[in-house]
Symmetry: C2
Subunit: 194 residues, 2 copies
DNA sequence: TCCCGCCTAACGATCGTTCGTTTGCTACGG
DNA sequence: CCGTAGCAAACGAACGATCGTTAGGCGGGA
């Protein structure tokens, strides 16, 4: 395997360990052991354990933001279409790197105060994209909702459960997962059976 | 506040700290500090840190199971009604003790192998209740679903996001939260407008 | 007097991190 | 073709701090 960057390899290993056991329960020496080097040797490539977590979280956040941005740009103003694109983009980011996505969703509280609040701010902005599409859909009669903010939170909760069970070699390929969740989310937002 | 059991007070404090910072990031001395005693003094009431986590997780699991059992017993065979009761019961257990529910959902991986697999087994059995109602609903034409297992997982993901934002003194009272989520879940399961 | 709740002291282990040194390769001057 | 300078990567020892936990003692209410 060609080694582009030792640092990136560290972050990938750390992603998987943080996902499986959590940031606090994963020691620097645990990460090093997987790479078959000694714990302190890691510090030739990274400045601190928290910096590794931050690199993972920051990159994951950027991928979510870029995917949502692209999805919004690619679709017109039709809320149903826009929401489907947002969901599909979100699921793709998760399935492309489950470890990083899980760390982004669950381990941001381990960051220091500054970085933690920065993540929360970006998360709010991201959720706002979903809420605005929902509000547009309500105004246009495409969606039936009394509480758009709660609906956006519920939608993202549903999607963010995926890293808890999805595995790249599981019974459902990533594309099918996306299809199913687009369907589920649109059902949540569109009017009930009547 | 009348103090029924010192041990229970420890578990309640631990619930809140485990929820806020995670099990591994919470020290025994952190728990003791909130109770205004010294760290080692906890061991007069408790046998180990993991035992505290187990007590919290076990009680939360039992409350989920009991609530689901009661909900199932109270409703007939109508799947829509049964699912509504299951969702309402689940949300009530969460809102009754957000801390314990959050710990149950997120911190079970910190348990030792035996207890962890015991929890996973109970969680599977619990999820099975949801899946069976969904399957019954599909068979009777009440629900439209191609993948009942995935639907059950998605429903529980949606509900288990609640501890991430619900606060007893928040803008939504517990009853409204339950109403909204019953609505959202039934929409997910029932046929869409398309 | 006894016991229960809490104390302080201390243990071995492990944590994140720093430091000085060694290793193995690549490039280049003579 | 040799010798050597340079460099990135990893090593092993060691640091201070903190972890979960044990042990023994002290004080006050029944």
């Amino acid at each position: 395997m060609v080694e582009i960057s030792r640092r990136r390899a560290i972050e990938d290993v750390a992603s998987e360990l943080f996902r499986a056991h959590g940031y606090a329960a994963t020691s620097v020496r645990d990460i090093a052991r997987v790479l078959e080097i000694q714990g302190p040797s890691l510090y030739a490539h990274v400045t601190s354990k928290e910096a590794v977590l931050w690199a993972i979280v920051d990159r994951a956040a950027a991928r979510f933001e870029a995917a949502a941005e692209a999805a919004t740009r690619a679709t017109g103003i039709d809320p149903v279409e826009a929401m489907a694109a947002l969901v599909r983009a979100h699921v793709r980011v998760i399935t492309d790197d489950v470890g990083a996505a899980a760390v982004f969703v669950h381990e941001w509280r381990a960051l220091g105060p500054d970085r933690r609040s920065a993540v929360l701010e970006r998360r709010d902005a991201y959720e706002r994209r979903f809420r605005e599409v929902i509000e547009t859909g309500i105004a246009g009669g495409d969606f039936e909702m009394t509480d758009p903010a709660l609906a956006a939170t519920a939608v993202l909760s549903t999607l963010n459960g995926i890293p808890g069970w999805y595995r790249p070699d599981g019974r459902l390929p990533a594309g099918r997962v996306a299809d199913h969740f687009v369907d589920l989310v649109l059902r949540m937002l569109q009017g009930a059976s009547r």
